[in-house]
Symmetry: C2
Subunit: 221 residues, 2 copies
């Protein structure tokens, strides 16, 4: 089991909750997520099953999968190695409700000056738009702490005489999906955070204004 895609697949399934229960997946989108074709995903999934790392059941045209204890062990061991490398991570929780932005998020994200840095430093191609969250009062301090932390800086630039400032970024999951939380240097609303990801989060989670969401921001001490 040193085949790399197998490992990535296992991780992807775990991220979808397949350690605890059978989750419904499609070979196509699970493959897309880790960068392989539907056919390859299909082949690797059946390989994982043969090796006893997952269990599968048909579910209509789709399938349900669950990771076996042996599969979980593999992931654990890798996680422990990363823990040995980086030490214990901090997870900062934020909770709040979806609100509508004024479209500046989209405007910013589309600027190639930021976009190329997002691809490079956050390693995904951002969906053009941000999800704005109004953080509940009792989480505002957590959000404020982030403003003082430094993880990834998207450097500002000047375009046609207009100045675009630095943007602070943090890897973060929203509803368990990995994306990033961004804080523009001169943002002033202390209780509003913006999330970006490689998909439209509004569509993916069918979010409407006022819906409650949970964000986990990841940091290294």
């Amino acid at each position: 089991m040193n085949r790399a895609y197998a490992q990535m697949l296992l991780r992807e399934l775990a991220l979808r909750g397949a350690m605890d229960r059978y989750v419904i997946i499609s070979t196509k989108d699970v493959g897309k997520r880790i960068g392989i074709s539907q056919q390859s995903a299909s082949r690797w999934l059946s390989e994982l099953e043969t090796e006893g790392l997952i269990r599968r059941e048909r579910f209509g045209k789709n399938m349900k999968v669950k990771i076996t204890p042996a599969g979980i062990n593999i992931l654990k061991r890798i996680y422990y190695e990363y823990s040995a490398i980086f030490g214990i991570p901090k997870i900062i929780k934020l909770k709040g409700t979806v609100i509508s932005g004024l479209g500046e998020g989209r405007y910013y994200i589309m600027k190639e000056g930021y976009r190329s840095q997002i691809r490079e430093k956050l390693m995904f191609d951002p969906y053009p738009g941000t999800l704005n969250i109004k953080v509940y009062p009792n989480y505002v301090d957590n959000a404020r702490n982030l403003r003082e932390a430094n993880d990834i800086i998207l450097k500002g630039f000047v375009e046609n005489g207009r100045k675009f400032g630095d943007v602070r970024a943090f890897f973060a999951t929203i509803e368990g999906y990995m994306g990033a939380l961004i804080i523009p240097e001169m943002s002033h609303y202390k209780d509003i955070v913006e999330i970006i990801a490689d998909v439209s989060l509004r569509e993916k989670f069918r979010l409407k204004d006022g819906d409650e969401v949970e964000i986990n921001v990841y940091l290294l001490s």
Copy 2:
């Protein structure tokens, strides 16, 4: 950069401290560690360099490598994904000195009944022998706590009428090297722990009785 070996290589280099400084490596043993040939390790290393994920310098016949910020970012992102999956890990520190066992460690480890389970559950082929550590008094409580934790159980068995009990096991690094700490069910010395790994730790770290070592035991809450 979804090539899996590249990722594993990067992790292996990080484990050796290449995030902070140039470390001397050999393509042969770095390859061996992740299960590829010297040639492939060489090729992948130069690919990593081309992609700007590591920097290399010749050092006699060997080379020194250091991971670039871009490389560190990739590892971080993966670590955060694992954190999202598993939550925050616990790291229990133990410190003590090397002592000589009575050879029972070796005797036990060589029993196929345990060995096959080590291969399966800890995912390495154990060097036939254990390293015994006498834990300093102020770390004994940490060691005692482990006796009550449950991570991996190597099930006991009966052989020729003799009963071999369950053995509790935990992933652990010793001097940064990933192995496992094992606690036989009926072990009585509360301040002595045994470490196993896929190499002779005594040889690898040139340990003599009385040398101080540091152990990190990894657990999930």
